[in-house]
């Protein structure tokens, strides 16, 4: 059984079918790329998968569980974490607290214990700190733990966003254009980070990307979207040599 199974997913905005009959199957451990020209509906797919939009038709299954009409929060708890095209960090909070927000669902104490700093508070906070630092180390952010997130350089902000997503303990990680706005060096580093996440956490990843070098470098499988429809799906090399894909990207 595939980790993520999406069947016949469709959504219309005022008559425009932004995503039309979208299907995808992602096996556990795969690194999967979702590509397509601007406006093809890639981010809309992400928004459907994470419950930001509710589909008109179709079904989304994560690990066998139907998550189609669940809220964004429930879907996160079910095991999908994501990053955003335009970075969305908790800007006025320290780096470590960004990660600890992600950890909160797995490390709990009551609100009263939190307000009075009694009971399990100290113990659980210590565990959260340790786990957060472990994550930050993986992303090479442990040196900036007390920086405000907004004060990080761009590349590190991208990393922190991934670290925060990983803190929620996902089964599937969605990355929305992680290399957007990066120079070739930063992109190279990002590719290493993604590979590291996959190795370290045995993570299944679906990413949207425009940078073909990144896509062909790390993705095993690709789905190409064009005008909201799946144009082509399969192994990366096959997909990229498909003449239809080349036409969609380069035009006639």
């Amino acid at each position: 059984m595939a980790l993520l199974e999406v069947n016949n997913l469709s959504i219309s905005f005022g008559g425009l079918r932004a995503v039309d009959n979208f299907n995808i199957q992602i096996e556990k451990g795969e690194l999967y790329g979702l590509i397509g020209p601007n406006g093809a509906g890639k981010t809309t797919v992400f928004n459907l998968l994470t419950g930001v939009y509710k589909p008109n038709e179709g079904i989304i299954r994560l690990d066998g569980e139907d998550i189609t009409r669940k809220s964004t929060i429930e879907i996160n708890h079910a095991g999908i974490a994501r990053t955003f095209q335009n970075i969305r960090l908790f800007k006025n909070m320290p780096v470590i607290d960004n990660v600890k927000v992600g950890l909160a669902e797995r490390y709990k104490y009551s609100a009263l214990e939190g307000m009075l700093h009694i009971g399990k508070y100290k113990k659980v906070e210590k565990e959260m700190d340790d786990e957060a630092m472990r994550l930050l180390k993986v992303f090479d952010l442990d040196g900036e733990r007390d920086y405000l997130a907004s004060n990080l350089p761009y590349g590190k902000q991208r990393k922190l966003e991934i670290a925060r997503a990983m803190a929620t303990g996902p089964k599937l990680l969605l990355l929305d254009e992680p290399a957007a706005g990066m120079n070739p060096n930063e992109t190279k580093e990002l590719m290493d980070t993604i590979a590291l996440v996959r190795r370290e956490f045995d993570m299944t990843i679906l990413l949207i990307e425009h940078d073909m070098k990144l896509v062909s470098g790390i993705c095993e499988k690709l789905t190409v979207l064009n005008f909201g429809r799946v144009l082509c799906q399969g192994e990366t090399r096959e997909v990229l040599s498909n003449p239809e894909v080349i036409t969609a990207y380069l035009g006639e």
């Binding site: 708890h77 909160a104 490390y107 939190g114 009075l116 508070y121 959260m128 004060n151």
Partner: protein, 353 residues
Amino acid sequence: MNKITKNNLITYGIVIAAYIILEALMLTGNLSSHLKGLLVPMTYYAVIAVALNLCVGILGELSIGHCGFMCIGAFSSAFFSKAMENTLPTVPRFIIAFIIGIGVAALFGFLIGIPVLRLKGDYLAIVTLAFGEIIKNVINSFYIGIDSKGMHFTMKSAMDLEMEADGNVIVNGAMGITGTPHNANFTIGIVVLLISLFVVQNLINSRDGRAIMAIRDNYIAAEATGVNVTGYKMMAFTISAAIAGAAGVLFSHNITTLTASSQYFGYNASIMILVYVVLGGIGNIRGSVIAACVLYLLPELLRGLNTYRMLIYSIILIVMMIVNWSPGIIAWREKTFGKSGLLGLFGRKKEVA
């Protein structure tokens, strides 16, 4: 001891030191009776400033109706104290009055929060203003009396209560509640302030507080990170209302005639609290306490300043907002002084860069 704990202790230390100094001045007879009368109001304005900063600085939603919650806390507790004046001894009665004032304000915070927190930004602010005015107007038309047959209630007039000869009108419409026992004093005010500070500062450094601030910074990302946005907003708003209610209990037990007047509970009063919060630094809890105390006492002490007080405050308010929030000025400041530079006396607290 980590930085956060140290920071919190400094806040408690400042409050306690101020208390000791003022008490010492009082005991040695160095405090005028005029100034003595200002001490309890000073504590409840500090308490409600802490409550409002929780809402504005931590939750990130502007409320211009917080004095409405103070009003609810004041009236519910004063009603209880007045009704039970001859039935219960002072100490348990006052403690129960606090529980009632805080509880009823929290309940209304929760109930009002359900519709209000579905909104954002300007709309949310204006609806809190609306609720504050509604609370004030509704309380102004309440008539409640107690006689041997039990409790009577009407919204018409005191005569319409139709009470027996032994009846006692407790809430008399726009004339409010007269003769609430004077149980509040400076020491109790300081204790309430310390408890409020303890709860709010601890909350900020807990998983719930972080979730609340995450919503403030980016609610879309917070949802995607699994934060129960609605639940945490409700929590912050309710706690904030409860603390405002506690300020209300101090208020009503320090005044002879309690009326739901615009002067104390209208939106202009709420804006005054907002001035304390902004000048103390949005999100800076200690700053709110200091700003509330200083800004409350200063004009009362320097009579000449009183005429120009609001004028000066409004100018400072505008200048502070522009200096601290204007994108152009922030960019200039960062270029000139580096990222952490020049935040003013009580500017927005930032971590090291």
